[in-house]
């Protein structure tokens, strides 16, 4: 059963300009950060969104829990349409949806102790206070590997290493016993040796607490370690979506193929081949007409400049948005 379902979700941000510019130009440009995305995440699944910087993946993650309000589209959480909920109703649901941010140096309040940061949600949701709060927090600190928890409870974020801070951020997300967690590049600021620990911790916690993750990353290697399904995002849209193994062994979108061939493997016998695509990602203000990938695509034909390809199921559970998906495979 789908825990999260998103239908044609869009988020446009107005381009910030000076007052004079606005007077003279008279129209507002929009950054189309998320431009029509539909998918659902099953209960207990790890759904990875992979894309390069600026593709809209972080905005998408925040939209799913309404940390950013959508411009249009619908979001269903456990069958409830949350796009229409008032803030009071939303707050009650918030307990069940949490987020882990990318930068553990910025996401923890430097003037609060770890125990208070982690326990804050318990107070806001009137679940526990005082001694009872402390008991719950100590338990969760132990679970995320900040052990002995009594030692970490009264520490400030600056006394912790990057990996320990990210553990505290995970503890904060878990303390309310949520169902759904958005993990936005949770390891990209960490060193590889620490990254492996955090990824393993997240996998263990997922099993233990029956969690569902929307895992956002720019690193296909990390996605291939974590994911059940992977969606590849380009300029605000999904271009391909498939179960992990299918996506990695049988990619059908030219962009996915390019990403896979451009990754430097940590193996001296596996060298980067020719990169089939050219140019750079266009600005999300001026999205190319037709298929947004066509200016860089080696397969592009007339239809690609004219008509936007839809995300179509070309094999069971394998969706591709490309006019030539058959040819690419």
């Amino acid at each position: 059963m789908a825990l999260l379902k998103v239908v044609d979700l869009k988020k446009y941000f107005p381009v910030q300009r000076t007052f004079i510019d606005r007077l003279l130009a008279g129209r507002v440009d929009w950054i189309k950060a998320v431009d029509g995305v539909s998918f659902s995440v099953e209960k207990g699944e790890i759904f990875c969104v992979v894309g390069e910087s600026g593709c809209g993946k972080t905005t998408l993650g925040k939209l799913t829990i309404r940390l950013v309000e959508p411009s249009s589209g619908k979001i269903f959480f456990d069958g409830i349409e949350i796009t229409k909920l008032k803030s009071g109703q939303m707050r009650a649901l918030r307990r069940r949806m949490q987020i882990i941010f990318q930068d553990p140096y910025a996401s923890l309040n430097p003037r609060m102790k770890i125990g208070d940061i982690v326990g804050h949600g318990l107070e806001i949701h009137n679940i526990a206070r005082g001694e009872q709060k402390k008991k719950i927090v100590l338990e969760i600190l132990e679970k995320v590997g900040l052990s002995p928890p009594e030692q970490f409870y009264d520490k400030y974020p600056h006394q912790l290493s990057g990996g320990q801070r990210q553990r505290a951020a995970i503890a904060r997300a878990l303390v309310l016993n949520p169902d759904y967690i958005v993990a936005d590049e949770p390891t990209s600021m960490l060193d590889v040796s620490v990254q492996a620990e955090i990824l393993n911790l997240m996998l263990r916690l997922k099993r233990e607490f029956g969690l569902t993750y929307l895992f956002i990353t720019h690193d296909l290697a990390v996605a291939s370690y974590m994911a059940d399904r992977i969606a590849v995002m380009y300029l605000g849209k999904f271009v391909e979506l498939a179960p992990k193994k299918e996506l990695l062994t049988n990619p059908r979108h030219p962009y996915t193929k390019a990403l896979l061939s451009a990754i430097p493997y940590p193996d001296p016998d596996h060298k980067i081949g020719e990169i089939p695509i050219k140019g750079v990602v266009p600005s999300p203000v001026n999205i190319p007409p037709g298929c947004r990938f066509h200016p860089r695509c080696p397969f592009a034909d007339k239809i690609c400049m004219r008509e936007e390809p839809q995300l179509i199921e070309i094999a069971p559970n394998h969706f591709v948005a490309c006019h030539f998906a058959e040819k690419v495979g």
Partner: protein
């Protein structure tokens, strides 16, 4: 065996901070051979950038060189006067920095960055320098019509090509590339890496590639030096390091890198985190995190061992 172009011996670079002396590079020996790409890998704060900056003598003002030598063409470049060092920089040894968004002057035209390099080191006129610049930019995949553009008109990858152009303009013997692709997307990164490899083949320069990304090192290095907490722990050929790492830290690092693979398989991690370099652990600096640590490891610093041509610092071997 090729000749050694650059030889670092017993180098110690410390930073003065309010909390105390940070021993960023502590007694490092390293040789760079002619025409090789030497990958220098390690996690953040291990001292790899400091090592690169000391070769360029571009260390920040709170750094002190507490000992050691950097021998280039038989001369200790730590001892020569500033004026002489300025002539070496760019001409004999040059550097590509991490962030192409900040390493170009936003008020200078693209071409002028390269032209300046020629003018300051060669007896050429502006026109001639501009001609050379356009030729070089074209070789790096930038249309020569764009020589009068400004940095903001270029994408990140194009800017990094300009930075590379300034670094290679005078065919230096040694190019230090400090995380040259970290700020770029993977597709651009792959293109820049291919460019670097091609340039090494064409110019015969030695490249010291500083990075935390083991994938990049595996792709284009000939040899690899692994750094941990201010020290070199292992140096070997790229195959030796990746296929048969000897030092426990190198092993841990290689097993911790996720690979793109549909099968998966458990990633192993290194427990703990890198130490504070104000108070580094006694003995071997890796011993608190090392699964093979013995009693001697906390007491005595491991000395250099050469095993089948490979350099390792470890008591357990």
């Amino acid at each position: 065996m090729k000749d050694v172009v650059l030889s670092i011996r017993g180098l110690k670079v410390y930073y003065k901070t309010r909390r105390g002396l940070v021993k960023a590079v502590d007694n490092v020996d390293l040789d760079v051979y002619e025409g090789e790409i030497l990958g220098l890998v390690g996690e953040s704060g291990c001292g790899k950038t400091t090592l690169g900056l000391s070769i360029m003598r571009l260390l920040p003002s709170n750094a002190i060189i507490a000992g050691g030598q950097i021998l280039f063409k038989g001369k200790d470049i730590l001892k020569i006067p500033d004026e002489e060092m300025r002539m070496i920089r760019g001409k004999d040894i040059s550097m590509i920095f991490q962030d192409p968004m900040t390493s170009l002057d936003p008020l200078m035209k693209i071409g002028d960055h390269v032209i300046e390099t020629y003018l300051s080191h060669m007896p050429v006129k502006v026109d001639e320098a501009k001609g050379k610049t356009m030729e070089l930019l074209e070789k790096l995949g930038i249309e020569k019509e764009r020589v009068d553009d400004y940095p903001h008109q270029f994408s990140g990858g194009m800017r990094q090509r300009v930075v590379i152009a300034t670094a290679i303009a005078l065919h230096p013997a040694v190019i230090i590339a400090d995380e040259p692709t970290t700020a770029l997307d993977v597709v651009t990164q792959a293109q820049i890496l291919q460019t670097l490899r091609r340039l090494r083949d064409e110019l015969g320069s030695s490249v010291i590639l500083i990075t935390h990304n083991l994938g990049i090192v595996a792709q284009i290095s000939d040899r690899v030096a692994v750094m941990y907490a201010g020290k070199i722990v292992e140096v070997g050929t790229v195959k030796e390091i990746f296929m048969d790492p000897l030092h426990p830290y190198t092993k841990g690092l290689i097993n911790a890198v996720p690979k793109v693979s549909p099968e998966g398989g458990e990633l192993s991690s290194i427990p703990g985190s890198p130490p504070d370099l104000i108070n580094p652990p006694s003995g071997c600096r890796f011993h608190p995190r090392c699964p093979y640590a013995k009693e001697i490891c906390s007491r005595e610093e491991p000395s250099k061992k050469i095993i089948d041509g490979r350099i390792v610092y470890c008591h357990a071997l």
